[in-house]
């Protein structure tokens, strides 16, 4: 499988979840795990460009596919990805635990709806939980990200 453009070998144990493979085997700890049953959205990554839950996939299933994690959005030292920049500007985070999942979901949302309506924004982030309940600023960040992406 390719992760952030780099080819990696498959995990040996088919029980390994993609989320655990990214974190424990590849050291990509930017992908967070919260509930590990698909509810919280923290572990969202892109699979061939579309956001999916990495805790609901076996790592072996990503063989032959391209995975993008939060680390793959912008190289260290280079400017932030527009979605990251927007979350930064709008304070779209408090503790930050949910942030990687939100950012990856929003990247997918803006890919499908480059100019989202408020309803599409709410729908697009409905699958991610923020326990600090910073949703108002997260919403603002999504609209700002759409502006920055244009």
């Amino acid at each position: 499988m390719k992760v952030n453009g780099v080819v990696h070998t498959e995990p040996k144990d088919p029980r390994r979840l993609l989320s655990d493979h990214l974190r424990h085997d590849l050291g990509l700890t930017g992908t967070h795990v919260g509930c590990e049953h698909g509810v919280c959205g923290c572990c969202t990554v892109l699979l061939d460009g579309a956001p999916v839950r990495s805790c609901l996939m076996l790592a072996v299933q990503a063989e032959g596919h391209e995975v993008t994690t939060i680390e793959g959005l912008a190289a260290p030292g280079s400017p932030l990805h527009p979605v990251q920049q927007a979350f930064h500007e709008c304070h779209g985070l408090q503790c930050g635990f949910c942030t990687p999942g939100f950012v990856m979901s929003v990247v997918g949302l803006l890919h499908e709806h480059p100019d989202p309506t408020p309803e599409q924004v709410d729908e697009g982030i409905a699958g991610n939980l923020c326990r600090c309940t910073g949703y108002a600023s997260i919403r603002r960040a999504v609209h700002r990200a759409a502006e920055l992406t244009k």
Binding site: P14, R15, R16, L17, D20, V33, E36, H37, G38, G41, T44, L47, A50, P51, V52, R53, C55, L56, M57, L58, V60, Q61, S105, G108, L109, E123, G124, A126, G127
Partner: protein, 250 residues
Amino acid sequence: MKPARFEYHAPKSVDEACALLASLEDAKVLAGGQSLVPLLNFRLARPPHLVDINRIANLDRIYERDGGVAVQALARQSAVEDSDLAGRLCPILPAALRQVAHRVIRNRGTVCGSLAHADPASELPAVMMALNGHVVVQSRRGQRIIPAADLFKSVMQTALAQDELMVEAWFPGAHGKYGIAEESRRHGDFALAGGVRYGDRLALFGVAATPVMADPKDPTKGLQPSGDLEATPEFRLHLVQAITDRLFAA
């Protein structure tokens, strides 16, 4: 988190998958995994064998058949939701899919997987009941069609035999009055109660062990929904009436 130990099989064809299902004991089919993997993660399911069908080519088509929409086993819910064909021939299908979990889940989840999982609170089994659709299942013994009315047996139990793979779901062309309504505590959660209307047909979900057909004039007749932390049986009956009123108001 780590599922209990299992042997992983990744067949490249439907024939190979059927051969595995016929020879392995207690094998479970893995398609989108959006219902099965949570069960594995919590070890609520401990199948000794997983047959992952995701590597089978040409099993993700959405195509017109007999005036309706045929959805193959690996067609993702998001693809069906976006399908012009489904929107044209069977608009209730994309409308119902938008109620299924969240888009990120639908990017991976499959229509056939939802039907095979047969959660009594899920939308698609009720859509299939209301429309009188069917599924096509295959095994080494051949193919057979199971009509919606015969498919759902109990909570997460279908009429599929252990060696059968659901290869296709078929939803008839549906141009009559339709609607889907449900109540859940949060958007994307499982419904406390829900209903699908097609013409004068009404299928309810979340209120019995399987989706059930009901009389729109007396929708709660014979229903004995269970109670849990989220809703009492009485509240679910109230919701059934309110949802039916809403669906048949127009």
